[in-house]
């Protein structure tokens, strides 16, 4: 399953890093603006919110960018190693990313983060596979034999018992006469 909607692999790392940074900055801006407004004194709520955004939103963005970079780099390394792109790549790279990012906290934290990363990415991949399957249903080719003829006159005279049920055919006409 090749990816055509994203950048090819070495550049995907940069792209994902930037996307994650933007996501973190935008989300962090919203979150820290509200938090700053809530925490500031009454006279300077707007300024407090703005200051909170300028100090904290880049931190959130940086954390997201770290995650995106590590994830994408591992993903691309796995693509190069295994020679295929499938959900297992994403799941493994989620685990590796969790482990790498909590490297300084010791082995227990690494293991915990790795498990969380694996489960999270497995959920995401599962949902995306389910969405693809659901949206692929409408493109399923239908055999011409199964299709209804579009012109009803092609059907010919209906069988007697069946047609009376739908209010058509010769038997119904006889009844009304």
């Amino acid at each position: 399953m090749d990816e055509y909607t994203r950048e090819p692999c070495p550049y995907r790392i940069v792209d994902d890093c930037g996307g994650a940074f933007s996501l973190g900055v935008i989300g962090g801006s919203i979150f820290h603006f509200i938090k700053g407004i809530k925490d500031s004194a009454k006279g300077s709520r707007l300024k407090g919110g703005f200051m909170s955004v300028t100090t904290n939103a880049p931190k959130t963005g940086g954390a997201f960018a770290q995650w995106g970079f590590t994830f994408s780099a591992t993903d691309c390394a796995l693509v190069a190693l295994r020679g295929k792109e499938d959900p297992w790549n994403a799941i493994i790279s989620g685990g590796v990313t969790g482990a790498v990012l909590s490297f300084r906290q010791g082995y227990t934290a690494m293991f915990g983060s790795a498990v969380i990363g694996c489960v999270l990415l497995a959920l995401i991949e599962g949902v995306s596979i389910a969405m693809t399957k659901m949206s692929a249903e409408q493109f399923k080719p239908v055999s011409p034999l199964e299709q209804m003829p579009e012109d009803p006159s092609q059907l010919g005279p209906a069988p007697a018992g069946f047609a009376s049920f739908f209010g058509g055919g010769s038997s119904t006409e006889k009844e009304f006469q």
Binding site: G18, K47, G62, G68
Partner: protein, 209 residues
């Protein structure tokens, strides 16, 4: 006649036969015995793109690439700068050398990565929004005006938190003007690099085409 033409081998000369190539006045001139439909050679679209898609990438498609490369470049340069500026500490034979080294790298790399990323984020965001507004309201194309506006606005916005720490209109305006000036100079540098080096910052051929 066609076979004769092909065997003749005279690419540009020979007025023996009338040109078999439909030519329009003012259009590009082709060799007389050109055995190819010149409509294939019209400059412009070389690639088949889906209907409704643009021939070149816009600012938004390139924004993530720009932001990501800025973050990564800032990280690398910041880490190197941190190591260089703290080289005395690292040389002093400290006990926890590994921890010190990784702390220096992570702190400085993170700091500069964030700074560069925020600048690129502001530049890309302002450029995209301004370009969209110009396209939809004035139906003008993306060009150097967008780059200059985005760069100047980025400078002003980046210096806004520093300016708001001062009180009074004059210091604030001074800070904002300084930031805008730095941004405008950066915009000129971007445009100049596009013009002179052909450095492609927007994913399109160049702003002057």
């Amino acid at each position: 006649m066609m076979t004769d033409d092909r065997r003749g081998g005279q690419l540009f000369g020979g007025g023996l036969f009338a040109p078999n190539v439909p030519s329009s006045p003012g259009g590009p001139s082709y060799p007389q015995y050109f055995n190819l439909d010149p409509s294939y050679m019209t400059p412009g679209s070389e690639f088949i793109v889906p209907e409704g898609a643009q021939q070149t990438r816009g600012r938004f498609e390139l924004a993530f690439l720009q932001i990501g490369s800025s973050v990564m470049a800032g990280c690398v340069l910041g880490s190197i700068g941190g190591v260089v500026s703290n080289r005395e500490i690292l040389r002093s034979g400290e006990k926890h050398l590994k921890t010190t080294f990784s702390n220096i790298v992570f702190n400085n790399g993170g700091k500069w990565g964030k700074k560069c990323g925020v600048v690129a984020f502001l530049y890309s965001g302002v450029g995209t929004l301004f370009g969209l507004a110009r396209q939809h309201l004035l139906s003008q194309d993306d060009d150097g005006i967008n780059t200059m506006t985005a760069a100047t606005t980025t400078g002003v916005l980046y210096s806004l938190p520093q300016a708001l720490k001062h009180s009074g209109l004059k210091p604030v305006a001074k800070h904002l003007c300084r930031g805008g000036l730095v941004g405008a100079v950066a915009g000129v540098v971007i445009l100049g690099s596009e013009y002179f080096i052909g450095f492609n910052t927007k994913g399109r051929r160049a702003w002057y085409y």
